[in-house]
Symmetry: C2
Amino acid sequence: MTLTMPTLETLSAEELRLMNAYWRAANYLSIGQIYLLANPLLTEPLKREHIKPRLLGHWGTTPGLNFIYVHFNRLIKQNDLNAIYIAGPGHGGPGLVANTYLEGVYSEVYPDISQDTLGMQRLFKQFSFPGGIPSHVAPETPGSIHEGGELGYALSHAYGAVFDNPDLVACCVVGDGEAETGPMAASWHSNKFLDAARDGAVLPILHLNGYKIANPTVLARISHEELENLFRGYGYKPYFVEGDDPEIMHQTMATTLDTVLAEIQSIQANAREKGDLKRPLWPMIILRTPKGWTGPKYVDGLKTEGYWRSHQVPFSEMDKPEHVTVLENWMKSYRPEELFDERGALIPELAALAPTGDRRMGANPHANGAALLKGLRLPAFRDYALTVDRPGVTYGEATRVLGGFLRDVMAQNADRQNFRVFSPDENNSNRLDAILSATNRAWDAEMLPEDDRLAPDGRVMEILSEHTCQGWLEGYLLTGRHGFFSCYEAFIHIVDSMFNQHAKWLKSTNRIPWRRPIASLNYLLTSHVWRQDNNGFSHQDPGFIDHVINKKADVVRVYLPPDANCLLSVADHCLRSRQYVNVIVAGKQPALQYLTMDAAVKHCTAGIGIWEWASNDQGGDPDVVMACAGDIPTLETLAAVDLLRRSLPDLKIRVVNVVDLMTLEPHSEHPHGLTDADFDTIFTKDKPVIFAYHGYPWLIHRLCYRRTNHGNFHVRGYKEEGTTTTPFDMVVLNDLDRFHLAGDVIDRVPSLGGKAAYLKQQLRDKLFEHKAYVREYGEDMPEIRDWTWTH
Amino acid sequence: MTLTMPTLETLSAEELRLMNAYWRAANYLSIGQIYLLANPLLTEPLKREHIKPRLLGHWGTTPGLNFIYVHFNRLIKQNDLNAIYIAGPGHGGPGLVANTYLEGVYSEVYPDISQDTLGMQRLFKQFSFPGGIPSHVAPETPGSIHEGGELGYALSHAYGAVFDNPDLVACCVVGDGEAETGPMAASWHSNKFLDAARDGAVLPILHLNGYKIANPTVLARISHEELENLFRGYGYKPYFVEGDDPEIMHQTMATTLDTVLAEIQSIQANAREKGDLKRPLWPMIILRTPKGWTGPKYVDGLKTEGYWRSHQVPFSEMDKPEHVTVLENWMKSYRPEELFDERGALIPELAALAPTGDRRMGANPHANGAALLKGLRLPAFRDYALTVDRPGVTYGEATRVLGGFLRDVMAQNADRQNFRVFSPDENNSNRLDAILSATNRAWDAEMLPEDDRLAPDGRVMEILSEHTCQGWLEGYLLTGRHGFFSCYEAFIHIVDSMFNQHAKWLKSTNRIPWRRPIASLNYLLTSHVWRQDNNGFSHQDPGFIDHVINKKADVVRVYLPPDANCLLSVADHCLRSRQYVNVIVAGKQPALQYLTMDAAVKHCTAGIGIWEWASNDQGGDPDVVMACAGDIPTLETLAAVDLLRRSLPDLKIRVVNVVDLMTLEPHSEHPHGLTDADFDTIFTKDKPVIFAYHGYPWLIHRLCYRRTNHGNFHVRGYKEEGTTTTPFDMVVLNDLDRFHLAGDVIDRVPSLGGKAAYLKQQLRDKLFEHKAYVREYGEDMPEIRDWTWTH
């Protein structure tokens, strides 16, 4: 049952000779990048001063990556294949740089790194060198959409890339280290969400080289039978290519690649021409080669090739002359004089092996996705507005309203095939189910008659893996398309580190002229901390915002729309934007609506504003500013204002609502930040500010500490108190409720007199009454549940 | 090849009748918790007012959880088995509460919830009710070490629990929703790290009930053959128990459990008595039952049992009398009058089915781990001290020194079998390799002759999955043992959300009297942002600290020891502590040493201090305070001070070093926080403070914004600039280098005169010189690399 290709003579002797030579060239250039400063072609005896003072880089995975690249080049040329290369072991950067250099793309993108001896010397020197390039397959590497520094996401990126790209094949190399990670282990199941008719193909190549940094890998140390079972269980048809003899391996790899490509084409023809929608068994390759293949077998008497010692720089004590000799002999074993001409250029018969133009994997437009990016057709979001005759009296479900808008975004871009929404089994729970009237959920596993809106060509991507959702979406965006990710707020922390890496990618690409802007990564965080009363404490965490704003200001945006119309305005803006991560936090429960569409657009465009209709400081200074950010804090603030204005009509209150959190940052730190003058105009220079905030309260202080009036800011927010309880009890547990907020005002505005003291006592009584009521009846008091704005 | 037990008559008719009745009781109590406020035994006709106003909870998974519990009770009684129950689908809380109530534990722990009608009414009312208990298998649930709110960690917790508990069996239920997550998908491979001789056994029960919130599950919709292949590929021997007829299912489950327990015992005997170290094929069960099994088949004409509509509350419009009737009929279908006596107690013949005493899964001491916790034997950490004759002139590798200490912690506790270290393939990279002279790496997969320090009974746990490491460690700690997790700083974000859940668990248990304190979760974050020059930008992120301090002050601690002796002192303290998450950030590279052991202990005990030896403000006020936290900021600060003192000897500088970051928080917010008076004494009330911090600079502002002198704080830290470059270039990219810091002093101390202006120009020149030098030579200037303290 095991699929190992017989060593047929797929390659003629001449082809084999040439391909092996090309591979030698790639390996040679990889080693040169890790080790050499000068003397790139070893035209003079190698000396210490030709070698870098600090040796940084990873050799172990590189010859395998190069081997695959060379073979994919052949496959591309032979079949005019449209292929990209995703290097899971991104630390094999030298290999990808070497190959894109050999195929000519590197010199086109970076003219200084020319295809001659001087260019080669620069190529070597710049690698992992100050002012040069990173050691990984970073944004700087042509053809890359995957940095591969943090492991786990190669395969979900690959699937994201081929969604809606029917003729694209993603060659996705998965290292056996990366294969131990959770996100990778889950993402093998992506094949249940791929439509052979509409989408392209991923060819996973599990590269077993046996070792991680200092340990063997799990998958290299289970039986052949278990390994095969595992991938059959994941729904693949695994082909094994195993060995260390280059000639045999070239023949086996070529034969295997011809076979699997024929299978992919047959699967696609079957789906596209015969309409067969049954999930196929996609082929994959398990490539087992020695770690540091073709490297020195022993150094200082210690096993090196085929061992973890090859992982990074296999030997590095360059002050030992014998190490210099080992390096020289090793590099010369690739016979560079046969590969490069006297000018340092790859000889023509080898250069001819690479594909040409956009078929070169370093130049494939999908890997510089913005080149293919078309804007979304967006329906007029105002058409979805809720009617708001008076603020704070009618109810709406913000995310459900958004769902209607997204449904039509989906419908209007159906022919462009460039928009998908992603969610870890929460699309309907998050009340975006309207989208399912414009498309289905993607599903290519078994179906039952009772199934609801599942189809292979659905565009709502739901798997209970935040990692896989995020990886798919990133791959989709990086190849020039658009997407929207809705998630329970607390569990978006599951992808904290993936967000980090994407934000770092964006920050880096902003400084690379040939990388063009991609569509923003849009998060809707809902089922948020204040309305997770069904699940309780484990589902209550608003800290993703804190995490996000640690990243560069030019790539992150955070929005807290207080109602449905504001959510529409913000969502429209985010879907039009480029090169950002946009975080939108909004509730899904029925909630009071405040702004007409016109007012919402104006408010969201400014990002912050005084709500005149709720304030009574017109034409003068307020006694207190009551600020709020987030739907629930807005509700509680308005309820507190209502109560204060009824009891203390002389108190002048200004209500400020913040939609765009970045407005609070200093203007020097964030492009959305208010100038100090504007900030002072809104928040005053000296009046108490009671700030009700959606998340951890100290975030507001972190944003505002440089502002004039910061000393008077008193912030309420989530202080990590929660459980399964009623909505209002949740805010009470965190002192964010209307009674606490009103009490905060009384405490901070001097000389309100006896009436205020009496009110304070009433507020305390109300809190006791609430506590007794919810414990008795299990729901909030009707007067709280049904409160509406009365002014 | 498929293993499905024939329906033997394992259970007598009477046993079957009783077990089914016990299961009916558990299901009845589960539904009661979700729905009822009163009339718990339905002794009067069910009315709207007997039903909760807000219906919260999850029915779908619960009957399956109950079914397994009842069968495990039989297995325990029959074999005097020591077993705990881990409910991956933790939202099936009502089931676990019901079972621990039926076995009597619940009433022992919560006497108000007595085993009678009143107690049952309270049991029902309290569930998901204000002032009551959470909806999940939370810390409040006896027998739980796993909340199961955030999905993915059930299996790694189970493995962690049985490590070093040879007679323990963890019954680990994995939902088919959870099975889609990355962390779960990776953790199946934990069987390669389990020693059948030394450790206990995990019995994974994959519970396929087919649906998540609103979608089918992947594993329920692949072929039987693929499913079986998948788990054989993971190294298990899967047994299938599939169906919906309770009688047949009881027989099949009983037979299967007898079989798998015999297999487990045989595997263990083979390892323990015959010394067979070959990795066994551990059995597992795939249990396929309808979602919401025994619930209403249709409600309002819509399919409910066996469908996603059963996931939460299967029907909830209780203002419809027909729904009340459906509920009444459904609950009565379990015939409560046959299960409970007139007082509301479980009838004796059913009560007799439960195990007794500590064998009850709700009372198993392993699930209240602290009950078994023994302190670690700790060697005298002072014995590992580096000799420091003068500050800042000799070098040491902090984590390597720590490795020696941990080696002896390992050795001295070998007989107690209660200490392990965890790392995602980074133990040696993090220079803790000394530990491997006291134990091996745990490894039960294939071994080769060249392997180094691998053994089934190793106590260094290395898998390239931060999730699995963290899950194992949590399971190990929660069952009363000790551990230490070392990780690259940037990639600890991979477990941000797992940290959240563990911190929430600790916070909750602090308020539960019968839960006793467990050992702290200790992180060593190394290979940190300032010394990841080998890998570059993707490996540079110091934000975990920001994430951690959002959690409750009483459970988190953050330490930044500046040198090896401080690291020893801090590590000793952390290993002794209880109920915290301790985060230690320390470098692994050779670095200058500052404090003698005595000075280090004193400094770390205070957590913050003025370094008199580096300051020249003795006997007077300083002109400037130069504060630092973290090893590299300390180095750069001292280099800046050195430079300033040599050039501007009249400038009075006070050097403050912060080890315990929480000292900066207000005393009212954190128990380690300095009082304002102490803070003012150290930082002055009005002098400029140049603060060099390891991480994102705004964190210092967030901690200090309420302090008197905060307006004069100028903080340097990581501002998200990085790449593959030299160590010193990294600090320069972020303005954290000695030249910038010295310049900051000159900018902020008024009237330093012309000499200072001249120095400022020199500093600028130095930065240019550095830039040119590193770009030419690829390493830092010798005078920077070799700088030592000169005063």
